[in-house]
């Protein structure tokens, strides 16, 4: 909204100036103060408390990603968590009045819960859960895939606290034909059309019933920040983060695959069979993305490090594998010709990313690319080039690379 507002504001000023024939002192400030919402701020640092140099891919709607070195913490703080918004952030959230409705054709009895109900009538659970945007890495696809051109930083792993989805589903009761759940959130469609959802995705019942699938009301021990879904967010770790609906008002239990906004077409779907780059794929040949693939990032050092010859270089980062665990982690400084094994921790819990580190000695002076490659418990490793092209550029899990110079 910002740029349009500024744009309009300026022309309004211009007409004022034209009328009274003189410049208005502080006119700019005067009009900018009129911008009614704090959400109209240009930079995510002051609007959402993000670290300064995160990358703003879009400011209406907000889509912001971290740089790899921002993500060094084992538990991602709110200040470094990427933002993926499909619509407008709700502006009138009153937690005291917030309710969650669970209904749909496959619930035994639909129910409405207040936040207080969720916090007091059900046992809370806390898990560290990896949330990665399905389109993380989109910027590398060729031919280009449309949408926000994410680099590597649309991933986070925070500690989420809330009610198990399973406990809620048990509370309402499921009919025998229940197969899927879907969410509806309070974010308005970009066009302002009240009858249209920005996004309404979901997961199969089996995923909804996992221990770790939460309706979360806390992130890292505090209320969830507004931009990340306050006061209530579905969290389905290891799946495209779009399955983890924000500002959740309603959960529907379906007797078929949920058909909400962005469940069909090319959205969050991959060709069921691999296709040639640039191919057209018809709707019936597209399959919904479920678990995210194995991936890793180098969070230290930041790309561009200049080091002295003879010195050891300590590197570290995270690795994750959707529903699976990461089994091995390797690093290469010769474009994948040879690989060195890294130390690797176990995850804090299922669906949490794991930490790796390694000390290396670069053989001589010069330019190096350091490549990181994780392998999951099924033996799938990250590809060194960009993997299978797909219409919307999802699931690029190619090895992360940083540049280092030895002088």
């Amino acid at each position: 909204m910002t740029s349009r507002r500024r744009f309009i504001t300026r022309s309004a000023l211009a007409s004022l100036v034209a009328v009274i024939g003189t410049d208005i002192v502080f006119g700019k400030n005067l009009f900018e103060d009129y911008v009614p919402l704090f959400l109209d701020q240009q930079d995510p640092a002051s609007a959402f408390g993000k670290v300064k140099d995160m990358i703003v891919l879009n400011d209406r709607p907000w889509n912001v990603e971290a740089l790899a070195h921002h993500l060094d913490d084992a538990v991602t703080p709110a200040s470094k968590m990427f933002i993926r918004n499909n619509g407008l952030i709700p502006t009138d959230v009153d937690p005291a009045k917030w309710t969650l409705t669970i209904d749909g054709e496959s619930v035994a009895q639909s129910k409405i819960y207040t936040l207080q109900d969720l916090k007091t009538k059900f046992k809370p659970s806390t898990y560290q859960l990896t949330l990665e945007c399905g389109g993380n890495g989109r910027g590398e696809f060729n031919p280009p895939a449309s949408g926000n051109q994410w680099g590597v930083g649309a991933v986070s792993c925070a500690r989420w606290t809330g009610v198990r989805m399973r406990d809620l589903l048990n509370d309402v009761g499921l009919k025998s034909d229940a197969v899927y759940i879907g969410y509806y959130g309070a974010d308005l469609h970009l066009s302002g059309d009240l009858n249209k959802d920005s996004i309404s995705r979901g997961v199969p019942l089996a995923k909804a019933l996992q221990d770790e699938t939460l309706l979360a009301y806390q992130m890292n021990g505090e209320d969830i920040p507004l931009i990340h879904g306050f006061p209530l967010r579905l969290v389905a770790g290891g799946w495209p983060a779009s399955a983890s609906g924000k500002w959740v008002k309603r959960i529907v239990v379906r007797n078929k695959i949920h058909d909400g906004e962005k469940m069909g077409g090319d959205s969050y779907r991959m060709p069921c069979k691999p296709v040639a780059p640039g191919a057209e794929v018809s709707d019936e040949d597209m399959c919904i993305i479920e678990s995210m693939p194995v991936k890793s990032i180098i969070t230290y050092p930041k790309s561009g490090a200049i080091i002295n010859g003879g010195k050891k270089l300590a590197l570290r980062g995270h690795a994750w594998a959707g529903e699976l665990e990461v089994k091995e982690m390797h690093l290469s400084f010769d474009f994948g010709a040879t690989w060195k094994q890294c130390r690797l921790t176990s995850p804090a819990n299922r669906l949490a990313w794991q930490q790796w580190d390694i000390d290396i000695q670069l053989p001589q002076m010069g330019y190096y690319e350091l490549w990181a490659r994780a392998t999951d418990s099924m033996g799938n490793a990250q590809p060194m080039v960009v993997p299978g092209w797909n219409p919307k550029g999802y699931l690029n899990n190619a090895c992360h690379r940083i540049a280092v110079k030895v002088v």
Binding site: I8, N142, P144, S191, K196, G265, G304, I307, A403
Partner: protein, 153 residues
């Protein structure tokens, strides 16, 4: 005689104040409209036309600073039709050929409430496919924009 003159003057003053008042009202109306005007609150289904007010100060190196769009033929159509729902950053970060841009626009028309663009659609596609065309690239580009720094331990 003097009476008539005074009457005339009074009339003139009244006329002038009336004109001024109307002007002032119109100005206030104009400002109100421009400041509080929200394109998203339009009726659906009708073609939306926003006045594109721009000045030479807003353009640097061929780029329109308020939107970030390249200034070229049909630029105004793109500002008018494509920056109401989302910022132009969603356009400037994407690359596609004419078919690709046309598909993106069709997708928005079918699923995201984008209105019928009539004959403007092909003009918009011309602008987009000329200014935001795919670049030649390899399967993986060399690392770019590396900011070198001394690593201290």
């Amino acid at each position: 005689m003097e009476d008539r003159f005074i009457k005339l003057v009074r009339l003139a003053v009244q006329a002038v104040s009336l004109v001024l008042a109307v002007c002032a009202l119109m100005t206030i109306g104009l400002i109100y409209f421009q400041v509080f005007y929200q394109p998203s609150h339009f009726e659906f289904g009708e073609t939306k036309q926003l006045g594109v007010v721009t000045s030479i100060d807003d353009v640097k190196d061929g780029v329109h600073l308020p939107t970030g769009l390249k200034v070229d033929v049909n630029f105004e159509l793109v500002v008018t039709n494509c920056t109401g729902c989302h910022s132009a950053k969603l356009i400037t970060q994407n690359r596609a050929n004419a078919d690709g841009w046309s598909n993106i626009i069709t997708w928005m028309q079918e699923t995201q409430n984008l209105w019928d663009l009539g004959e403007d659609k092909s003009l918009i596609v011309d602008y987009l496919s000329k200014n935001y065309a795919p670049e030649q690239q390899s399967r993986r580009k060399p690392l770019a924009n590396v900011e070198w720094y001394e690593l201290e331990d």
